[in-house]
Symmetry: C2
Subunit: 284 residues, 2 copies
Amino acid sequence: MKLAVFGPGLLGSSIALAARRRGDFRVAIWGRREEAVAELRAREIGDLASTDLAAVARDADLAVLCVPIGAMPALARQLAQMLPRTALVTDVGSVKAPVVHDLGAIFRGNARFVGSHPMAGSEQQGLHAARADLFEQHVCIVTPDAQSEPEAVAEISSFWERLGCLVRRLPPEEHDEIAAAISHVPHLLAAALVNAVAGANPDAFAFAGPGFRDTTRVASGPPEMWTEILGVNRRAVKKSAEAMIEKLREFLTLLDSPAAGGDATMNQFLTSAKAQRDRLRVRA
Amino acid sequence: MKLAVFGPGLLGSSIALAARRRGDFRVAIWGRREEAVAELRAREIGDLASTDLAAVARDADLAVLCVPIGAMPALARQLAQMLPRTALVTDVGSVKAPVVHDLGAIFRGNARFVGSHPMAGSEQQGLHAARADLFEQHVCIVTPDAQSEPEAVAEISSFWERLGCLVRRLPPEEHDEIAAAISHVPHLLAAALVNAVAGANPDAFAFAGPGFRDTTRVASGPPEMWTEILGVNRRAVKKSAEAMIEKLREFLTLLDSPAAGGDATMNQFLTSAKAQRDRLRVRA
């Protein structure tokens, strides 16, 4: 099996490392810049690392697109002419409806495309942060649509499972609503919290403890990537952020009426949050 | 030196463990309930563990109150009659202005009181989570007021430094503003985020990755304690939460006007947050 990975960032490099460790893949990885490819070679991230798109795509059984969402369609149009018709293609974009729509159309008749979103990023960027175990025990959401071949969906799911993922399936639109709630809005909250503290009193950072550290960790993620994600998933992000503001306002109203049972209701609010959070199972 | 710790929770037990490990303290620890004291003894958290307040307080050089904020004044009134006049007293309450006001008045003429707030909690509760290294490399805020003796402030600071803390000083009111921004509101955000997701689509939790896990970790903290903290620090929490909502609204407005430079300004918003967050230094 030849695996072709396009994009030398954290996800692309970690996929290449994880697949090589499995041993049943020949891994080729493409980077646009010579410097990135030199680093891929130095770290032996793939059996082949190259800036030559055709060389990486040639005879691939499986192709994974790991470039920013905005760069996907142009890359896909080139690959549609280079990949075998039998190749299975997926991507790792954090927003799925527009990507699945565009890439599905581009690959139709050229290769078999199914979208994916491994929930295993990090605030760290680039191949220096790559890890063969990045995906282990983390969820990967596979997002078939009406055009997807069931066999292709099963094969992509099995690929992610071989990298260690817990595979779940969602239609692309439903994925985008859920990703807004559990990933995109949490990122926005972390960034807004840091900016709110900086605006009120930048000296406050010097007093922070582990709670603030963890609550804001994702705010260290790449700004360009997140600007794109939040912008492309605009509608779902707004809906989810408004629900969040409403919950905050609900609590602030309780704070104003401690005597009228506000304290008991605040306790219920926090108890309910604790109960849900205690049930969360995400690998450390 | 005899150290008397009042309260067998995470902080009290960890203080006792850390001080015993130092070796230059005899440590007595008080718990209200027999069950808790039995556990303290089983884990050898102190040289003496007892429900007898007077026995724990007797001849103490240093006393640390580690009970919920609301229980502090009643405990302090009893201790004021039991501790030596030369004893140095502090507490670990997360809100300082009201605690320092009340305990300062209660101990005046009986013992020397200075407030403290070690920024080293955890979402875990109770003595089973206690660790001798809980405080190492974490900030402890010592909060002298106009009545504090400089020598007592220096001695309390030195105590926390011996447990491994990075000691900083703030007036109690300033502490409460800063704690609202970097601890109390982040807790509220985590709880509100969990409740917002649960309200919109409880199935979404099954898709969460490490970002959601870390952003919401503190929501697993004890609801009673946090209801009390948020209620007692009501004014500063509201101010800080409103600043947070304003930042969120600022971003949502940008989301609506991508063509009018919104995307560039979103990028600036996230870049600024990343720059501040990258500078944060909190021990892992």
